[in-house]
Amino acid sequence: MAVLYPSQQWCDEWKKAIDRNPSVAETGKNWGADFNGSWLFEVQPGGGLEKTCYVYLNAKNGKCTDARMVQEPSEVNPGFTAVGSYADYKEVVKGKKDFIEGVMRGTFKIKGDMSRIMRNAKFIRAVANSISSFEATYLGE
């Protein structure tokens, strides 16, 4: 069953998708082991989304430990943040655009310890790929 992006149901499905992706388990063994490996995705309005929303994702040792919507960024303490518009995130969730490519182009602005990202590039790719591995519906469509 397709779930609405963004919603808590979508976060739950993303967590499941991450945990059933063998590449995540294989490449993420060291992710979050001795540093804060959580992410906050800031989804800015546009493309059907009226108000900024936040998706929090935590992963450690190749497993997703938490995936949820948060009301305010101050509710969590992410190690990394990614900021982009709903229209751009939608394309990634649909699998039409690549998250890494979006980061390279500056479509998504990321903050955090870049050397951790570089050291775990395959893990980042695996998590990003899992985002489009299940059916979703979208605001504004």
Partner: protein
């Protein structure tokens, strides 16, 4: 405090990542010793997005800017995973080159020296 300058418009994502990496590597005495007298331009291009940045070395002044330049001193091109593996010190640039994981050209002697600024070996 040694610094990396950003020239021109706001850096693209590749540039923003490399700038942060370089800000750490230039504080490493051995790396600084290798690059402080270099002159020239290194182009780094991410192969899938074709996003590029160029890093200008001018005797201890280092500036990163979006885009490529004509006739750089050296260039390196590879996918995100490959560039990341090099930049994090997991794979040496020569090994990556010989294994055809990346493409490189120009003055290879200078490339090896210049590339030290984008290699952060911290665990």
């Amino acid at each position: 405090m040694r610094e990396i300058k950003a020239g021109g418009e706001e850096l693209n994502g590749l540039g923003a990542i490399l700038k942060q990496v370089m800000e750490e590597t230039i504080q490493v005495p051995g790396t600084w010793k290798t690059i402080r007298r270099l002159q020239g331009t290194l182009v780094v291009r991410e192969a899938e997005s074709q996003v590029a940045v160029h890093i200008e070395f001018h005797r201890g002044e280092i500036q990163i800017q979006n885009g490529s330049v004509d006739r750089p001193t050296a260039y390196v091109e590879g996918g995100f995973e490959e560039l990341s593996a090099i930049s994090s010190g997991q794979v040496g640039p020569i090994r990556a080159l010989l294994g055809k994981k990346i493409r490189a050209g120009g003055n290879l002697w200078k490339l090896l020296r210049m590339s030290k600024v984008i290699i952060n070996r911290k665990p």
